[in-house]
Symmetry: D2
Subunit: 341 residues, 4 copies
């Protein structure tokens, strides 16, 4: 069966797995003190031109979001996200579990607007009762967003300017960062990113690794005793090599972007196929996640041939579905898909 | 350099890595709904003869301890452990982070005594002020313990009887379970374990896997909506296959015990070597962790040849050190060690 | 200066204070085991005709909401409230601090709609991803609401029916319960309340006491070891008498309703005054909180003569303000007010 | 029946109650913004000669301990207390509920030793694994202690010197502060206290008030947005006047110390009575709590005549009991007691 269900259905990219294998029997020290951790950190700092970055490897996305948000916020603060932000609705309350509220501003095709963010913050401080409310303590966005859309450099600069005006760190969830950076619609270069936020991560789970997210605090601003805090959250691996060896491979010879490019090329192809056949796009996404409005009868027909993601009900007879490409999607998959839709 | 520092310094057992590799490009569904999860669960239930077991795969040990304890306790309860128990001192407060106190009873070479546990519980309920104190809500032990020692079947039965008398679940941390089960001093069979506790786990990280712990709730007693709770803790992997494929290999053809046997055989050899040379044993351990009292001058000498674990200061001129064997320790390592000590 | 700012600006009703005084030097046991606690509990159970009620006295409203919600929810559950619900925006994150999310449904003049609640719950369970989301675990409403409005008996029955259908407890925040019960628009009698929810409280802080809220779990359904949980939240008073003596007075000779009546009578008078002068009502409230849309220039004029509550900006030249009456409001206050508006 | 059970069995001191009564119908603003809060703060700052103090009024002791500890610690830190410290065993896990561990050093008649504290801290930082452990983040002591003992000025200076050396705040729980300060064994003056710690509180609940503890952060070091954090903990009273009016009375005309003196004078008398009759003292306490070792048969005899506090079993035939005097104890009570013992 064809699968466009998501971007985490295969294992690791062969080069990543090979590196795990070649280093497998080496005796390495634990808890992130191995040589591959050092090496991968250096490669990542170089890739993003971020010599003052503090880099850490965390195993999963929810975990990374929970860790960064809960360790950067003060007790009385919440994180501001778009209503459609991943941390708002789809993390099983992992943020609230650490004692912090997710505050929301409107989402526009998944994106937050700098002007609306500013109004939200101004209104908060203008409210005479704000001492009785949760303080906005940081801003969370994702790049690409839940809807595959991306911010322009100007949009990020504007959001970051608002954050600095209100003395709040900006956090960019880059679970699918590679797919954003190589999009032809993207005017942000890897080396721009550290100048546009206080912390971001380059996701591995969805871009070539079995697991792992590489967190970069952009200006030596990692929370105090961060290793202890990782452990306190149950997130410190004894075999830190599992994450570091994979990132060491992903950031060698530009592998991270190369394999992302495959997903984007095929996503463009996918868009063409759907457009030619007259399908309606739910929104315009320039990355590896595409959202179409399809007839329920058609979906019923596809059921045994293609896996796709259910997104939401559109109307009585139509549904919004997600088709995702990934580093492992093959041109042949698209050829076969043409037969069915 | 020789390494007896711990039992998590190599990667995965070759058979485990091979299984990861062979399945790598298969398209599998996420979050623990893949076919290898089903297969590994069945093998584990069979291995422990536990048809009513609920099996889950969690990525690391601290995370597993945190999850099990926080999801099985009521808000007003704490977990009872030996003073030397891992969750008491060496988890960076991961248990307290979830709002629960670790209550302690004395440790004897790492073990809790059923009689002392009973007195502790009786005293608690006899105290007229106990409504102002943390209720003991479950008992945590590890097998083997922090000191490599193991409980006899009789000792476990006695502890479990006390737990049942006070209506508290018993949780056995089996991060090194394999090394305990194959010890010649062990009178517990795999199929005994589910009858001796309410939840236990078979550790992978220290016994042949890159990561992963297999949790077994022994009588369909997994906490409600456990998958959601795993996610809420940031512990749900998108690629659940990472854990399940490894456990699928470890529980095929008895691999889990076979590779544990290597560690135990060589630990016996190690003990002989130290005994013959007149070194003093800190305590008598029948598993893969051995504790010796060594002269500081001797340790200084070894520094560049052998890695070992510092345990604690013994007196002004002696130190307690840990030498651990593992599934990956080689006979040649011991031969070489002989030259130095 | 005249004060219509809120309903907690005076101390205790004289009868309440007198009871504190008369009992002041009695030697009473602590932590809620005194005789006045017993007496007040009995009076409350009788007042609400709730022989199977478990009654507890808690010192403040936020504390009560935090305690009830966090002790009745499972770890993986959140509380459902109207977007305008007090726990949603104005408790400084006290609910999230305990690890739980506040889920929201639309508010209509402060009220939740049973039909919309049902759709919200149906949609949740219909969503294939709901295991990755916070489970709705209880419903929170207030009576009267933040806007002074009240539910009809039919509306409460409908909401409670939805709750029971989805096996969720219904919690009614009655911080201003007295003012609701005596409203001429109210068709709910005190003895109806226990049949319409699983837990509610009769507020003292805003209805005649210096502090204190009387919580009633309506069918012997208090959370386990609730006294211990109160203490764990830092909410157990050594001198439990402070709360119990006050409630003992409030529920003697129907004092609770009598003093509420004063607020409602004067609120009716207040409405007449504003209506006669042509002021615009923001909404129609039948209780002690009234919301008017007033010109900013007029408010500027009033500033030194009358205290009122700022609610929200209406447009560039108008503001929504709240005028509250209370048990201590005097007829003369209204006479004086007439001069200014 | 005579009562020496504890020091919180009567209501408020008549002067305190009188002040509540005289101010009862004044219209005051809420949440600690009333004029009596200002007045009481000034009186307290003057009493302790602490012009740079930040003063807050909290309703109860457990709540105060929970608030101060959880808002002053970083996420990864725990509080260091004596094993017998109140926060260690008798707060129902209120500290752990906020995510923090209570670390313990030995208690000597309730007191911590500066030298042992220093060794504990040195050992922590010397441990190569301390990044895997809970960091000691502040020190908690009480004055007087759980056993009625008090620290000398020199002892406090030594403890505070250790705290400063390790950059940790020192917190003094003064639930019974008045009874300590007036003890003839006390060489600490009120004005010394702010120089000996970073935060302390003067307890009201046990020294003349119905409720309330006055917290003093000694050098403008209150945690950020402390009012919001108080609310987040459910500890912010709408009628802040309840606490502030009481403290306004207690710190007028030295009432706080005067009423404490009564308890200490009668405690000295009590000691004489027991000593003359040959009873054995469990330890030597210079304050209002006295601990005797009494025969069980004697206690049985007293049961219907005198209330005392059960402390702990001493041996098969003896029990340690606590007799407490308080501001409300009368000379006649002691005369009557003489008849029974």
């Amino acid at each position: 069966m064809l699968s466009f269900e998501n971007d985490y259905s295969a294992g690791a990219h062969p080069e990543v797995l090979k590196h795990l294998q070649e280093t497998n029997m080496e005796i390495l020290s634990g808890y992130g003190t191995d040589t591959y951790t050092d090496s991968a950190k250096e490669k990542i700092k170089k890739f993003f031109n971020c010599p003052e970055g503090d880099v850490y490897f965390i195993t999963g996305g929810t975990q990374t979001n929970q860790l960064i948000i809960s360790t950067m916020l003060e007790n009385y603060e919440g994180v501001v996200a778009a209503t459609t932000g991943h941390v708002s609705g789809h993390e099983a309350g992992a943020i609230e579990y650490t004692g912090h509220k997710v505050l929301t501003v409107p989402g526009h095709a998944g994106k937050m607007d700098a002007g609306e963010l500013k109004v939200f913050l101004q209104d908060f401080y203008a409210d005479g009762n704000h001492e009785h409310m949760v303080f906005p303590g940081m801003v969370y966005i994702s790049f690409p967003t839940e809807y595959g859309t991306i911010y322009s450099k100007k949009e990020l600069e504007d959001i970051y300017a608002v954050c600095r005006e209100f003395d709040m760190p900006l956090f960019i969830d880059g679970a699918r960062l590679g797919y954003g950076l190589v999009s032809s619609a993207c005017d942000i270069k890897p080396e721009d990113l550290p100048k546009l936020c206080d912390v971001f991560y380059a996701g591995g789970t969805k871009v070539g690794a079995l697991c792992g997210e590489a967190v970069v605090f952009t200006h030596n601003n990692a929370p105090g005793h961060f290793v202890t805090q990782i452990k306190q959250h149950g997130a410190l691996l004894a075999k830190g090599r599992l994450n570091s060896v994979q990132f060491d491979a992903l950031f060698t010879d530009n592998l991270y972007l190369k394999i992302s490019q495959n997903a984007i090329d095929l996503a463009e192809e996918l868009k063409k196929i759907f457009a030619e056949r007259g399908y309606k796009f739910f929104l315009d996404s320039p990355t590896n996640q595409q959202f179409f409005i399809m007839e329920n009868s058609k979906l019923e027909e596809l059921k045994d041939k293609v896996k796709y993601g259910f997104w939401e009900k559109y109307d009585e007879t139509h549904t919004v579905v997600r088709f995702a490409t990934a580093w492992y999607t093959k041109k042949e998959d698209l050829e076969e898909l043409k037969k069915y839709i």
